[in-house]
C-alpha cells in the first residue's frame, strides 16, 4: 500500500526546525572534514545529504549523534543551543542514528537488543517490551519475532530492527547512514515505505547517500556536500516540479561548480553505465571453475552450498549479493585459505583443491582481500616489505634464506611508481598510509609477479572517488592484458560498470548468472530475492 508520492512532506516544515546545525567545522589530521556547514532539519521531512565518499556526510552526522565533537559551530535543538557530549546524551535528546554497520549485538535476541540501554530498575521487563515491540512494529508495518537471535536475521531485517530501536528510545530525529548499501532492490522498496511512515509520524529523517537517484527519489530536500563544504541545496518546490534529468544536471552543476564534471565521477553518482561488448574471445577456455563446492560455515557465517561457476579466460566475472551471503567464504576457498567440505576447484582445467595458498599463488591465482588492514597488509611493516611479502624465501629477494635488501627496494620503487602509491618512501609503515594507498599496496603486490586469475573482494570499498576510478581502471587494464578477474562486490553499479557477466550469490548459493546489458540490473534484483526473503 502506498502513502502517496514520497516527495510531499507530511506536516510541512513551516514551524521551527527540529535541528539546526550552524557553521559546523571539524578537522582531522590532514583533512578538513566539515567546513562551516549549516543545515536545518524539519519535522515530517526527509532531508537527503548527498555527496561522494569522503565528502564529510558521516562526520557531520557523527557530530549530531554524539560520537564526535565539533571544533567549531553550534547545534540547536528546537532553537536551544546544545552541546552533545556522547551517544548517550544524543539518545537522551531524541537523536537516533542507524549506522552502516549495525549496532546490534548478534548474540542477543531481538527483544534483548531493544531493551539494551534502558535503565528501568534492576529486572528486565520482558512483557512490557514485547507489547511495545508489537505497537512500534505495527506502526511501521513490520512484524518481528522478539525471540529470534539477532545474528540470524537478514541484513534488511536487522536494519529494520535498528529503526525500531531508534523509535523505541523516543527519537525525534532519525539519521540513516547509507541504508541502501546493504539491501536488495526489494529491500530498498520496503525501506521507502518505512521512511514514508516515519515521516507521517512526524520524525525529522536524514538520509545519507552518495547515489544521486536515491536523493532525488527519497528526499523532500537535498543538501549537497563536496569536500567538506555545503555546495548547494535543492528546495522541496524544485524537487516536486522539476524532472529527474533536470534535477540531475542541476546537482552535478552544483557539485562541480559549473565546470565540466569528470565523467567517472558522474557515473559514480548517477546510474548511467555504458554497456560494452564482452572482451573475451568467443572460444575462450574456462580459467577458473568451481564444481559443486560446499564450504562449512563458521560462527556467524553462511558458508557456500553446492556452488558451481565457470569463469572464462580474460573475462571479468562479477559476484553480486548483499553482504553476508557467503562472499568471504567463497573468496577464501578459491584462494586456498579454506578447504571445501566437498567439490572441486579447477584452474585452467587442473584441479587445485588440494593445493595450498602458496602453491596456488605460484600458478598465478591471486586474491585481493577486502580486509586491507588486518589481512591484506601488515601495518607495522614497511611498504617495501609488504610488497614482497608473498615472495618470502624466493630469489632475488631472498637467497639461501638470507634477505637481499637491494632487490626488495628496487622492486618496491618500481611498483610505487607504477601504481601511483602516495607514500613518503618505500620504508614507511603501511599503517601510516591512507586507505586508498593501502589498497594500492595490496594491488601492487597481487598484480605483480605474473598474475593469471585474480579475485577482487570489494576492491573500492571506502575509497575516495579518484582512487576508486584508478582501481577500476586497473582491473580493466589487467583484463585487456589477458588476466581473468572475479570481482566480488556489494555495489551493483560497480559490477554493472566493470563486468562482462555477473553471478548472483544468495544464502551461499549461486542463483544465476546474468550477461551484462540493459536488463541486467532488473534480472539481478530478481535473482537476489529468489533464494530468500529480502
Amino acid at each position: 500500500m502506498t502513502t502517496g508520492s514520497p516527495l510531499t512532506p507530511a506536516t510541512g516544515g513551516s514551524e521551527q526546525p527540529a535541528v539546526e546545525l550552524v557553521r559546523i567545522t571539524k578537522e582531522f589530521p590532514g583533512v578538513l572534514a566539515n567546513d562551516r556547514i549549516s543545515l536545518e532539519l524539519r519535522r515530517g521531512e526527509v532531508h537527503c545529504l548527498l555527496g561522494e565518499n569522503g565528502a564529510g556526510k558521516s562526520t557531520l552526522m557523527n557530530i549530531l549523534s554524539g560520537m564526535v565533537r565539533p571544533d567549531a559551530g553550534q547545534v540547536k535543538l528546537d532553537g536551544r543551543v546544545v552541546e552533545i557530549v556522547s551517544p548517550k546524551h544524543a539518545i537522551g535528546l531524541g537523536i537516533g542514528m542507524v549506522y552502516q554497520h549495525t549496532s546490534l549485538v548478534p548474540q542477543l535476541t531481538v527483544l534483548e537488543n531493544l531493551m539494551l540501554g534502558e535503565a528501568e530498575g534492576i529486572r528486565l521487563n520482558a512483557g512490557r517490551a514485547r507489547e511495545r515491540l508489537r505497537d512500534l512494529g505495527g506502526s511501521l508495518g513490520l512484524d518481528v519475532d522478539p525471540m529470534t537471535t539477532t545474528g540470524t536475521l537478514a541484513l534488511g531485517q536487522q536494519q529494520q530492527l535498528e529503526i525500531i530501536k531508534a523509535l523505541w528510545r523516543g527519537s525525534k530525529v532519525l539519521i540513516l547512514d547509507e541504508p541502501t548499501s546493504m539491501l536488495t532492490p526489494a529491500g530498498v522498496a520496503e525501506l521507502e515505505q518505512i521512511v514514508a511512515r516515519l515521516k507521517a509520524q512526524g520524525l525529522a529523517v536524514v538520509f545519507i547517500t552518495h547515489k544521486l537517484h536515491e536523493a532525488i527519489s527519497m528526499g523532500d530536500r537535498v543538501a549537497i556536500l563536496s569536500q567538506g563544504r555545503l555546495v548547494g541545496a535543492i528546495e522541496p518546490e524544485e524537487l516536486r516540479t522539476a524532472t529527474h534529468d533536470e534535477l540531475q544536471e542541476r546537482i552535478i552543476a552544483l557539485m562541480f561548480g559549473g565546470q565540466q564534471a569528470p565523467a567517472a565521477e558522474v557515473v559514480e553518482l548517477t546510474d548511467e553505465v555504458e554497456w560494452h561488448a564482452p572482451r573475451r574471445p568467443s572460444d575462450a577456455e574456462p580459467a577458473l571453475e568451481l564444481v559443486g563446492v560446499t564450504v562449512e560455515p563458521g560462527p556467524g557465517e553462511i558458508g557456500a552450498r553446492d556452488v558451481s561457476l565457470e569463469v572464462l579466460k580474460s573475462e571479468i566475472m562479477g559476484i553480486a549479493g548483499v553482504d553476508g551471503n557467503g562472499q568471504r567464504e567463497l573468496a577464501e576457498v578459491i584462494a586456498g585459505q579454506r578447504s571445501p567440505a566437498s567439490g572441486d576447484i579447477r584452474l585452467f582445467g587442473h584441479s587445485i583443491t588440494r593445493l595450498r595458498v602458496a602453491q596456488r599463488e605460484k600458478l598465478g591465482l591471486r586474491y585481493v582481500t577486502d580486509d586491507r588492514l588486518h589481512e591484506g597488509t601488515i601495518s607495522s611493516l614497511s611498504v617495501a616489505m609488504n610488497i614482497v611479502l608473498k615472495q618470502i624465501g624466493k630469489p632475488p629477494y631472498w637467497e639461501r634464506g638470507r634477505i637481499r635488501y637491494a632487490a626488495i627496494l628496487a622492486k618496491a620503487r618500481e611498483l610505487i611508481a607504477r601504481f601511483d602509491i602516495r607514500t613518503p618512501g618505500p620504508m614507511t609503515r603501511v599503517g601510516a598510509l591512507s586507505g586508498g594507498n593501502i589498497q594500492k599496496v595490496v594491488l601492487a603486490r597481487e598484480l605483480s609477479f605474473d598474475p593469471k586469475v585474480v579475485v577482487y573482494s570489494k576492491p573500492t570499498y571506502g575509497l575516495d572517488v579518484k582512487t576508486t576510478r584508478s582501481v577500476r581502471q586497473t582491473i580493466r587494464e589487467q583484463a585487456q592484458a589477458g588476466v581473468t578477474s572475479i570481482v566480488i562486490s556489494t555495489d551493483l553499479d560497480e559490477l554493472l560498470d566493470l563486468c562482462d557477466r555477473i553471478a548472483v550469490l544468495s544464502r551461499g548459493s549461486i542463483t544465476g548468472v546474468v550477461e551484462n546489458g540493459p536488463n541486467a540490473q532488473q534480472r539481478i534484483g530478481e535473482l537476489m530475492i529468489g533464494g530468500k526473503a529480502a
Binding site: 563458521g298 560462527p299 584462494a335 586456498g336 585459505q337 595450498r356 595458498v357 602458496a358 599463488e361 586474491y367 582481500t369 580486509d371 588492514l373 588486518h374 589481512e375 591484506g376 597488509t377 601488515i378 601495518s379 607495522s380 611493516l381 614497511s382 617495501a384 616489505m385 611479502l389 608473498k390 618470502i392 624465501g393 631472498w398 634464506g401 638470507r402 634477505i403 637481499r404 635488501y405 637491494a406 626488495i408 627496494l409 628496487a410 620504508m427 614507511t428 609503515r429 601510516a432
Partner: protein
C-alpha cells in the same frame, strides 16, 4: 645500489615499531630511554620505598646486591647465572615474536634437567667426557622441545589457547620431573630425593682465564658461551632470514600469515619446538655447569622472571643480553642482600613484577602521546580474536 647501502637504508630488519612517525618525534634515543630504561628505574625506586617502609635501608640493600653479585668473584656466579637465563630469554623471544605465549618454560626446564641429570650421570662412565656432554646438550634440547609438542599441536590444529595449555604442561612437567628424580633416576647411595651426582671432573669445562676461588666448580663454565652463541644465532635467524620474517608475519596476524600463503600450522609447531629446545639447553647449562645433580624439590622458576626482560628488550635477541646480566646480578646479589637484611629472597621477584607493571604504564603513556611502536609484535594481533583466528 650496493648491498650495504641498501641494507643501511633498510637498516633494521623490519621490526614492529620501526620507523614510526612518533619515533621521529621522540628520537630513537628518547624512545629507548622511555621504554627500556624508565620502567626499570621506577621499579627500583618503588622497591626502595617498600624497603624503607619495612625498616630496611634501601641504599644498604642495593649496595649489598652489588657486592653480593659482583665482588669477591661473585661476578663469576652471576655470569654463570646468565647462561640459563639468557637461553630461556632467547627461547621466549622466538615464541613471542611469533605471537605465541609459551608460558611452559618451567616445566620444560625441570624435565630436561631431570632427564639429563638422571641419564647423564650413568652415561659418563661409558663415554668420553666431551662426547657425553655434547650428547647431553642434545638430549636436553630434545626433551625441552618434546614437552612443547602437545600445546603446539593443540594450537596448530585446534586453535586452543596456548596460555592455558602451556601452563598446564608446566604443572604436569614439574610433577613428572619430581617423579623421575625420586624414581628411576634416584641416587641409590642416599635417601635425599635427588639424582646421582656427576663426577666433578665430568662437568662442563671452564672458560680459560676464569678461576673460581671459593666454589667447587672450576670457574665460569662454557655454558655461557653456548648461551651467547645461541643468542646471536637466534638474532640472525629472526632478523636476517626468510624464516624469521615468516615468524614475524605470524606474530603480527595469523590471518595475514594465512593470506600470505604461509604454512601457519608448521610455523607454529616449529616456533614452539625451537622455543622448547632453547629452554632445554638452559637446563643443560645449569645441571652440567653448576649443579651436577637435580634435587626433587628444586625449582628456580626462572621462566616468569625472564618475561619482563624480553619485553624491555623489545624482543631483540642480542638486546636482551644486558638485561639478563642485570637480572643475574640482581638475583645472585639479591640472595646475599636478602640474607643480610633478614628478608625473603622473593623480594627480587617483586622488583621483576613491578618492572613489568611500569612497562605497561610507559606503554600507556607512549600511546597517549601517540608515539607509536609497541612492545608486542603487531598491536593489530589482538583483532585476530574477533576475526576468529588463533
Amino acid at each position: 645500489m650496493t648491498e650495504t647501502a641498501a641494507a643501511a637504508e633498510l637498516r633494521e630488519p623490519p621490526r614492529p615499531g620501526a620507523a614510526t612517525r612518533g619515533q621521529a618525534q621522540l628520537g630513537r634515543v628518547g624512545d629507548f630511554l622511555l621504554r627500556s630504561i624508565l620502567p626499570l628505574l621506577l621499579a627500583l625506586v618503588t622497591g626502595a620505598v617498600i624497603l624503607w617502609a619495612i625498616d630496611v635501608d634501601p641504599i644498604q640493600y642495593y649496595k649489598d646486591v652489588y657486592s653480593g653479585g659482583v665482588e669477591f668473584a661473585a661476578w663469576q656466579d652471576s655470569l654463570m647465572r646468565v647462561a640459563p637465563l639468557l637461553l630461556i630469554a632467547v627461547g621466549l623471544i622466538v615464541a613471542f615474536r611469533a605471537g605465541i605465549w609459551n608460558l611452559g618454560m618451567d616445566g620444560q626446564f625441570l624435565l630436561a634437567g631431570a632427564v639429563i641429570a638422571g641419564v647423564g650421570s650413568r652415561m659418563e662412565a661409558h663415554l668420553p667426557n666431551t662426547l657425553n656432554l655434547v650428547l647431553l646438550f642434545f638430549v636436553a634440547g630434545a626433551v625441552g622441545a618434546a614437552w612443547t609438542i602437545v600445546p603446539a599441536v593443540l594450537k596448530a590444529r585446534y586453535e586452543l589457547n596456548e596460555i592455558i595449555t602451556t601452563l598446564m604442561m608446566t604443572f604436569i612437567g614439574i610433577n613428572l620431573a619430581q617423579i623421575l628424580v625420586k624414581g628411576p633416576f634416584q641416587d641409590p647411595t642416599t635417601t635425599t630425593p635427588q639424582t646421582r651426582a656427576f663426577d666433578f671432573t665430568a662437568l662442563l669445562p671452564a672458560i680459560p682465564g676464569t678461576d673460581s676461588i671459593s666454589r667447587r666448580w672450576p670457574g665460569v663454565h662454557v655454558g655461557l658461551v653456548v648461551a651467547v652463541l645461541a643468542a646471536v644465532a637466534v638474532w640472525f635467524l629472526l632478523g636476517r632470514t626468510s624464516f624469521g620474517l615468516r615468524l614475524q608475519v605470524l606474530g603480527a596476524s595469523t590471518r595475514s600469515a594465512r593470506h600470505m600463503g604461509l604454512d601457519v600450522s608448521k610455523l607454529i609447531i616449529v616456533a614452539f619446538l625451537l622455543s622448547g629446545m632453547l629452554v632445554g639447553l638452559a637446563a643443560a647449562t645449569e645441571i652440567l655447569g653448576v649443579k651436577g645433580y637435580q634435587r626433587a624439590d628444586w625449582n628456580p622458576a626462572f621462566g616468569l622472571w625472564v618475561v619482563p626482560l624480553v619485553f624491555l628488550a623489545r624482543l631483540h635477541a642480542i638486546g636482551v643480553i644486558p638485561y639478563v646480566v642485570l637480572l643475574a646480578l640482581a638475583s645472585i646479589g639479591g640472595d646475599f642482600a636478602a640474607q643480610n637484611a633478614g628478608l625473603t629472597p622473593r623480594f627480587t621477584l617483586l622488583l621483576v613484577g613491578l618492572t613489568l607493571l611500569f612497562m605497561a604504564l610507559t606503554e600507556w603513556v607512549a600511546r597517549r602521546a601517540q608515539l607509536g611502536g609497541s612492545y608486542l609484535p603487531g598491536a593489530s594481533y589482538r583483532r585476530q580474536r574477533a576475526e576468529g583466528a588463533g
